[in-house]
Symmetry: C2
Subunit: 421 residues, 2 copies
């Protein structure tokens, strides 16, 4: 593309403003270091207000199509977020033969395949490092470091909001208190459901798995959030030498992929256990490379804006259109996926309770590797079971049966134990 890049920036929200600030402050440094000169040629936003604040109202347009018609512009930076009109803007930009930089995970998770195909057809590049895990160079690492390797699995703390909440719960706060704190600090939305139900992490693991496994999926990841967890579970996990994290997991097995999001117990000595607060982390396992673990801030104005600017600079260095290929890939039915499990059962404090539960496990051919009953002065006693490996199908069946037993007084809490070292 040459050493000069003329960009049209759409969206002057938090990240957009950050990009403008970085370009205003660091343009000379960037040029000195990389030889690339970035010119902000046009900006578009819903209102003129932000452009005025940033002193770029002289290049403001209210219709993004004006930017697409500008022949000088060779990169459109889409930072409005959300699904529409972002999707249309991206597709229009590609059709206008503009390269695109975006931080839009929602659009890419929903119609990434379509976008990448159109980009290849129109011989332009779409870069999106900022769309997943903020400042962690995860897309680059998958697409570059593993280009001659086969990734076998991905594990990730992909959502900062839930990791912050779980960290605070581990420190002693209730779920409600931790959520409130997250909202106060700007780490959680007023309606946190997209985050705490695991949907945000699900979009991210979908996108990462598509790229890592060259896979075109027709289903979304199996998703479970953090709403069933209590402080009690954090404490029991800790006693057993584990911590609880919401992980996105993708594993390739022959021709299908296990793709899921859910709370997991992982050994306290594992790197993920030291990833706290709003920080994100990803573990990539490659056949040749072994494990690469990356962590960093998953969101925030300047961390994310820096990554957007990196993508812009990258476009200047690229001589070729990125080629991505995706093969139709089936997901492994969640009922067939295998792990060890932690179950917390609220048992009525009467003879025979433990025996009834043990009988159900035996019927479902699940072996129990450990069991702990706390001496508590309540009528309902929490009993914790750790199982050997079993399928989610077996466990679900057992939980369903147990929940019907008269001795079981609370909804059973089920957490997978991940085989990480």
């Amino acid at each position: 593309m040459g050493n000069e890049i003329n960009i049209g920036l759409i969206g002057l929200g938090t990240i957009g403003s950050g990009v403008v600030e970085i370009l205003q402050t660091n343009s000379k440094l960037i040029e000195k270091r990389t030889g690339v000169k970035i010119n902000l040629v046009g900006v578009c936003d819903k209102s003129l207000e932000r452009a005025k604040q940033l002193k770029i109202d002289n290049i403001f347009v209210s219709d993004y199509k004006v930017l697409l018609k500008n022949k000088k512009i060779n990169v459109i930076v889409e930072l409005i977020g959300g699904y529409e009109p972002a999707r249309t803007i991206i597709m229009d930009s590609i059709k206008a033969k503009k390269n695109v930089v975006t931080a839009n995970k929602a659009v890419l998770a929903k119609c990434g395949y379509e976008i990448f195909q159109s980009a290849q057809k129109n011989k332009v590049n779409v870069l999106f490092e900022a769309a997943v895990c903020g400042c962690i160079p995860i897309i680059r690492t998958i697409e570059e470091s593993f280009s001659s390797d086969n990734i076998t699995s991905i594990y990730g703390i992909l959502n900062g909001t839930t990791n912050f909440i779980l960290t605070k719960m581990n420190e002693g706060m209730s779920y409600e208190g931790a959520l409130k704190k997250a909202q106060e600090l700007g780490f959680a939305e007023r309606d946190p459901s997209f985050d705490v139900e695991g949907k945000d992490a699900a979009q991210k693991i979908f996108l990462l798995a598509s790229l890592a496994f060259d896979a075109k999926f027709f289903e979304e990841a199996f998703t479970c959030g953090i709403l069933d967890l209590t402080k009690k579970d954090m404490d029991y996990a800790s006693e057993l030498g584990y911590s609880i994290k919401l992980l996105g997991i993708a594993k390739k097995e022959n021709d299908c992929v296990e793709l899921r999001v859910g709370p997991c117990m992982i050994p306290s000595s594992n790197l993920f256990s030291s990833v706290n607060n709003e920080v994100n982390a990803v573990l990539l396992c490659g056949k040749q490379t072994g494990d690469i673990f990356l962590s960093g801030k998953g969101a925030g104005k300047l961390p994310t804006a820096t990554v957007v600017v990196t993508d812009i600079i990258e476009l200047a260095s690229r001589s070729r259109v990125v080629q991505r290929f995706f093969q139709k890939t089936n997901l492994k039915p969640i009922s067939e996926t295998i792990s060890k499990y932690y179950l917390r059962v609220g048992l009525v404090d009467e003879p025979g309770g433990l025996a009834s539960i043990a009988k159900v496990f035996a019927e479902e051919k699940i072996s129990i590797s450990g069991c702990a009953q706390k001496e508590v002065n309540h009528t309902v006693v929490p009993v914790v079971f750790i199982t050997h490996k079993a399928t989610q199908g077996q466990i679900d069946q057992a939980v369903k049966k147990c929940n019907k037993l008269s001795c079981v007084k609370e909804k059973i809490v089920l957490i997978r134990i991940e085989d990480l070292k």
Copy 2:
């Protein structure tokens, strides 16, 4: 460079053989994914033997200059290691207008500036991701992810051998036992001095700091190895909530840089504490980006060879010559660097010992934040001191004085406590 790359490979040792194997196995996958076709056009090694084993004796030459004269070849991959003749081969390749991929840390640490300058002059690229920390994409992350940011500090477990030895010592082995185990597993050389004295890590932090701070240094990093550490220190550290790791550290302060390698105490909850055995890890701190932490295998045939192949593919995508600039930068005198310290003093078990030590600290204006004397039935009792922040100059002076006291019966062990969370 176009979509077809013709390489001349020099050196068929462990990594060179790995590169050949990956190209033989994964060429089609690479082409499908990236659109890049890699042709191995010529190989050069000391003897024909390895080329025969790899079934590439048909393209073998015994003089590397034959490869440089081959007009088809656009990339020379130098994998012989060591200083000379590697340095001459790299410089000759650049002068012959060949791009270079190398894994040679020794050459880059000693004459990287000269190599980069010559490459820029001859309009070719020199890529060297495999030279530091094996499969961790650390050079890429510094040069790309931080291209619009200012890195303020780098911390790294940069040497797999010493990390393996420290891990095993922490698990209960003696230094000698751990070294022997490392040698058996191929993680340590027969003469381990380059690793255990911290020299390997020093070359790496020198190189990383040069790139991260755009800095041309005229001195090497201050270096201290792991030879003074004992199992006792691991145990005390652990009791105090720390682990001991050999870290390479580079911090930018105004116009100078603190550059050192040495054993450090870091909180057990910090990510570095969970980096065990032969694994490497690097923490990059950026003004805008915040912290990025990366870890992975620091060595090994396939992990390193995969990175070399990534660099080769990268060359096909680059339209521009990498521009690197380096400004003359002074190192901060080590005596002026500041931290907290752990000191283990072997005191004779008689009245007045502790008082004498405390007096020396007071004279040097070092405040003590904690002190623990173990009740042991020996004539020499280990006493552990933790200090508040002080300069290395102050501490060195105090240690010198203490070592002269008649109550001090063993050489004092000094470990910096790093301010990591």
